[in-house]
Structure formats: structure tokens, C-alpha cells
Amino acid sequence: MESMAAQAIFYVVAALVLASALYVVLGSNLVHAAFALVAAFFGVAVFYVYLGADFLAGAQVLIYVGGILTLLLFGVMLTNRIYDLKIRTGKVQVLPGALASGLVFALLIWIIGAVDWGAMDTGDPGPSSEPLGRLLVGDYVLAFEIASVLLLIALMGAAMLVRRRSGS
């Protein structure tokens, strides 16, 4: 169903996501790394569109790019007086880290190859927001409520941690 162009765009986006992720973990400028993370998050949202998860793609952009990333940027800027502070202070064990994560990657690739996933294409699933909404207030209503409790305490706790010191 997807044209060649759509496929080509997918792989371009995939390359962009991986390149940005690479910058996030390797780059020496924290602010640039945060913006690279924006690119990676956008790319992941594009994957969701390809997978027919339209609502999730929207949520990804709104929450990750609009929320989490803004938070991270605030964190970067409020904790570094110097805008482009170099973050490689002290000794960094790059080689053992690279070996360990390389091993993880190799094992995961092996798992992906070894398992018969039984993948099937069910065709265009149509808009996902309706079944998603029904599940959230149906079978998963408890999870939905727990998420609200989690948000409540996270909000309360984050405010507490930052407020108290400025008050005292």
C-alpha cells in the first residue's frame, strides 16, 4: 500500500533518528544534544504514523517535544551558567561503555533474528483514538487511574523539592 517514496522517507527518518541519538550520547554541547533529542523524538513520532498509531504520534510530539524536552532544556540552562559548558569533565570510560553497549546491541539483534514473531499485516487499522479511548476507560481504567495518582504525586513532589529551598 505504501509507495516507494513512503518507504524511502521511512529509512531517511530512521537514519536521522539514529544520527541524532548518536549526537545525544556523544556530543559535547549539552544544548545541542537537547535539540538532537528533539529530532529523535520527532522521528519516533513519524514511526508511529507509519505504524498507524496516529494518536500516539500526537501525544509523542505534545508530551515529549512540548513537555519533557522543555523541562530538560530548562534543566540544562538553569544548572549551567555558561551556555555551552563542556560536559566531559573527568575521566570517561568510553571503551568499556562502547563494548558493553555493543554486546547489548549484538544480543538484541540476535534475539530479533532468533524469535519467530509471527508478524502479520492486518491492513490499515484506521484511526486509533477510538479503540485507544475505549480501552483506557474500559479494560485499562485502573491503569488510567493509577497514572493520575502518579502524575499527582510527581507534580506535588517536584514542586516541593524546588520550592522549599527557595523559601528557606
Binding site: 493509577i146 499527582l152 513532589g157
Partner: protein
């Protein structure tokens, strides 16, 4: 009635706690202008009432079905653990009134966090759906990070919290990745559905690798080696009542999740035992984890000079002992873990309470500051000796029952060599528990140390914790009976 409405009638303890949370938050706002001590005691009363309601409504016979469209198992294991969580939270709540670190601090958020954690622990222990397991585990985690970092003007507390959240997010991230692969392999998020799908196919080592990723998240919660790095630092940096909470509550819930995974999701019940899905190597994994965890925990505890750190490593050792029980993969093992967790509540919280009371006077957690303790407060010394010997598993204290059940379960599963390793570990544990006892009783302390003063609350709490340890073995049948229902996992009811 609809399924959700019916489920709510079996969900009273959790509802009571969430209701209490709402009341606490509003009450905290309304008392902003009150003086700290008065506001703290009001909030403690409210939360204490809520926890008592949760405690009493959670006692009683287990239900026998799944709640909320198979999200929560209302079974024997949950019936045993719900009161454990409520009681632990209640003790911790009262501890925080007495802890020196928290004395002059407004407790509104802390009280709210304790109540939330108690509820989230209950959700965690009952979860039989991958989404619920992950979500409730993260709720417990986020609340724990906040409690550990509660003293935001204390450097140690902040550092501990930062370490905790970074380690925690990585471990649960690995677990999440493992869960996603498990979902892909089975096409379902329901734990029993996972078992069905796995049992119908053949699996190689890839299943073990997925299991290792998932074990990362569980191991983080129960502080099993090698996911324990955070444990000593967090236990040392956190306010002591929070340390006590973390060493009992999340550990118990982590074991519940472990049982759900290894006994329900990845094994099929057969008579009194559970046969792991071929290819998962679940038993080997548990045995390795348990041997490494107990040995490292106990040996490292030997080297500690700070009592909070020592108790942190000792709690790692206890996690290893419980893992040893879990490796037996039998109904006896579930029962043994149930007994262990109930007993562990009293002995470990007791030891931490003595540490809290000593810290009020000495302002130190160093083992050296406990020298001459006997002369300063014979009552506290005797209480501490009881808790430590109980932790060691020495009769006639209640800790013996915990060790007894675990070792019997291990031997019945034909893992005699594992029981021997466990026995050697008890010997190592004896060395450091007795070291503490010796310091308190024999070593001379300062010439004229400050005296201890007890409030009535201290005496009541101390008695509530010490008496079960002292006379627990006389009520063997009651303990056995109360925890026996834990064998009735959801699919065995």
C-alpha cells in the same frame, strides 16, 4: 453490576488509601499557616486513620478472582501482603514523627507520599498484567525517589535521591524493553496469556535473555546483586524512616512481582510445584541471583562501620535468602516467602526504630557511637539484641520461623547444596550481627553520655515491634495459618 463496580467492592483498602491521600493534600494546604508541629501531628492522625482502615479492611479471607478485567489478582498472595504494606506504612508514618532528621520539617508531602506508596505497593503485589506491573512499579519508584530526597536542603539526601532515580530509571527502562519483547513474543499483555502463548512453542536462550532484562527491574526493587548499587548509598542518605520503609515495603512488593512472573507467567503449575517454560532457565537464573546476592550482601556487611549501611547490606543478604526460597519453585516456596516477609517486617523495622531512637540522642549512625549502649539504656539494648538475633534467625525469636520455612522449601526442592550455601551465609551474618551486639554490650563508651528519654509513643512502638519477635514462635500455628493462603495464587484458587 459492571465488572469495574464489582471490582471496587474488593478494592476497599486501596480506595481508603487514595481517599486518605486526597484528604491529606487538602488538609496540608489548609494548615499552611499552622505551626509545623501541630500541622504534622494533625496530618499524621489523618493518614494513620486511613492506614488503619486499610489495615483492617485488608484482613480477612482472600477473594478468588481477577479484578478490573484481569488487571489485578485478588488472590491469597495479595491477601497476605496487603496487611503487610498497610502495617509497614503505619509504622513508618509514626517513625517519621520521632526521627531527628524530620523533626523540624513540614511533613505534608511526606505523609502523602507514604500513603501513596502503601497503595501503590498493593497495586504492584496484585498486578497480573504487564502494563499494571510496570505502571505500579514506577509509581512506587517515583514516590520512593521523592521520599529519599525529602530533605532537600541536605546534601546527602539529595545525592542519594539522584543516584536512586538514575539507577532506577535505567533498571526499569531495561525491564520495560524486556516487557516489550515479551509482549512481542506472545502478543498479549496478560500474564496468564503470556504463559499460554509461551507454553505452546519452543524457545531457546532468547527467552532467558528477555527474562534477564525483566529481572533487572525486579532486582532493582528487591535490591538483588547486581542491581543493588544504589542500595547502600540510598539507605545511608535517606531519612531513616524512609530507609526502613524501602527495606521492607518495595522489597515485599518486588517479591510479589517476582512470584507473579516466575510462578505464574513463566511456569506451569504441576502438583505442588511450578515447572518453568522450557528455555527460560528460570530456576538457574534464580539460583545464581540468590547465591550472588546473599554472599555479596553478607560479606560486604561485615566491613561496614556505619549501622545504616550495615543494615542496608544485611537487607541485601535477606533478599538473597528469599531468592533462595523463590528458586525452589514450589507452593512451599510461596508460603515461605509469605512467612519471611511478615516476620521481616517486625524484625527489620524494629532494628531501624532503635537506630532512629539512638540517632535522636547521639546524632550519629556510626557503629562506634553505639559503644557503651548497655549502660545508657538497657531497654533499648535488649530490644536491639532481640531484633538482631531475630534477623539472624536464632530461636526462640520469630526470625527462626522465617529461615525455617525457606530452608525447608529449598531442601524439599532437592537443592540441598543451595541450602548449605544459605547456611554458610547465616554464619557470616552471625559475625556482623554479633559485632553490633558486642559493641553495644561490651565496649565501654563515653564517661558521661547523654541519657535516653522515651516518649510514650516510643515505648508503644517498641513494644509493638519487639513482642512479636519475642513470642512469635509460640504462635507458630497462627503465623502458618495466616500466611498459608499465599499458596493460592490466582490460577490455583
Amino acid at each position: 453490576m459492571s465488572d469495574a463496580a464489582l471490582s471496587l467492592t474488593r478494592f476497599i483498602p486501596e480506595l481508603a488509601l487514595v481517599g486518605t491521600l486526597a484528604v491529606v493534600i487538602v488538609a496540608d494546604l489548609l494548615t499552611q499557616r499552622w505551626e509545623t508541629l501541630r500541622a504534622n501531628s494533625l496530618l499524621t492522625w489523618i493518614a494513620g486513620g486511613g492506614l488503619l482502615v486499610a489495615l483492617f479492611t485488608s484482613l480477612g479471607p482472600p477473594g478468588g478472582g481477577a479484578l478490573f478485567a484481569s488487571m489485578i489478582a485478588d488472590d491469597g498472595l495479595l491477601a497476605v501482603l496487603r496487611p503487610v504494606f498497610a502495617l509497614t506504612a503505619l509504622f513508618v508514618l509514626l517513625f517519621s514523627l520521632r526521627a531527628r532528621e524530620l523533626e523540624s520539617v513540614r511533613m505534608g508531602e511526606m505523609v502523602a507520599l507514604i500513603v501513596t506508596t502503601a497503595a501503590a505497593l498493593m497495586w504492584m503485589a496484585g498486578s497480573v498484567n504487564l502494563v499494571m506491573i510496570y505502571l505500579s512499579l514506577e509509581t512506587v519508584s517515583v514516590a520512593s525517589y521523592l521520599m529519599v530526597g525529602y530533605l532537600s536542603s541536605e546534601r546527602l539526601s539529595n545525592e542519594a535521591s539522584l543516584k536512586y532515580i538514575l539507577f532506577g530509571a535505567v533498571s526499569t527502562g531495561a525491564m520495560l524493553f524486556g516487557l516489550s519483547l515479551l509482549y512481542g513474543m506472545t502478543g498479549t499483555l496478560d500474564l496468564y496469556g503470556v504463559r499460554e502463548a509461551l507454553a505452546s512453542g519452543a524457545h531457546g536462550p532468547e527467552l532467558l535473555l528477555v527474562l534477564v532484562l525483566i529481572a533487572g527491574g525486579i532486582g532493582f526493587k528487591i535490591a538483588a546483586v547486581p542491581f543493588h548499587f544504589w542500595c547502600p548509598d540510598v539507605y545511608t542518605g535517606a531519612p531513616t524512616p524512609v530507609t526502613a520503609f524501602l527495606s521492607v515495603g518495595p522489597k515485599a512488593a518486588g517479591f510479589a512481582v517476582l512470584i507473579r512472573f516466575f510462578y505464574s507467567g513463566l511456569a506451569t503449575p504441576e502438583g505442588g510445584s511450578f515447572l518453568p517454560i522450557p528455555g527460560s532457565e528460570a530456576q538457574t537464573l534464580l539460583i545464581v541471583l540468590s547465591v550472588v546476592t546473599m554472599t555479596l550482601g553478607n560479606v560486604a556487611a561485615l566491613l561496614q562501620t556505619n549501622l545504616k549501611r550495615l543494615l542496608a547490606y544485611s537487607s541485601i543478604g535477606h533478599a538473597g535468602t528469599m531468592l533462595m526460597g523463590a528458586a525452589a519453585l514450589s507452593s512451599e516456596a510461596v508460603h515461605a516467602i509469605g512467612v519471611y516477609l511478615v516476620v521481616y517486617l517486625f524484625m527489620n523495622l524494629g532494628a531501624f526504630f532503635v537506630v532512629i531512637l539512638a540517632h535522636r540522642v547521639t546524632g550519629s549512625f556510626d557503629l562506634a557511637s553505639y559503644a557503651g549502649f548497655w549502660k545508657r539504656s538497657p531497654v533499648l539494648t535488649i530490644a536491639m539484641v532481640v531484633f538482631l538475633l531475630s534477623l539472624l534467625g536464632m530461636p526462640p525469636f520469630m526470625g527462626f520461623a522465617a529461615k525455617y520455612y525457606v530452608f525447608i522449601a529449598v531442601i524439599q526442592a532437592d537443592l540441598v547444596w543451595l541450602a548449605v550455601v544459605g547456611g554458610l551465609n547465616v554464619a557470616v551474618a552471625a559475625a556482623y550481627y554479633l559485632k553490633v551486639v558486642m559493641t553495644m554490650v561490651i565496649e565501654p563508651g563515653e564517661a558521661s553520655p547523654p541519657a535516653f528519654a522515651f516518649s510514650r509513643l516510643d515505648a508503644v512502638l517498641l513494644a509493638l515491634l519487639a513482642i512479636p519477635n519475642l513470642v512469635g514462635l509460640l504462635f507458630w500455628n497462627a503465623l502458618d495459618g495466616f500466611t498459608r493462603v499465599s499458596r493460592q495464587l490466582l490460577d490455583l484458587v
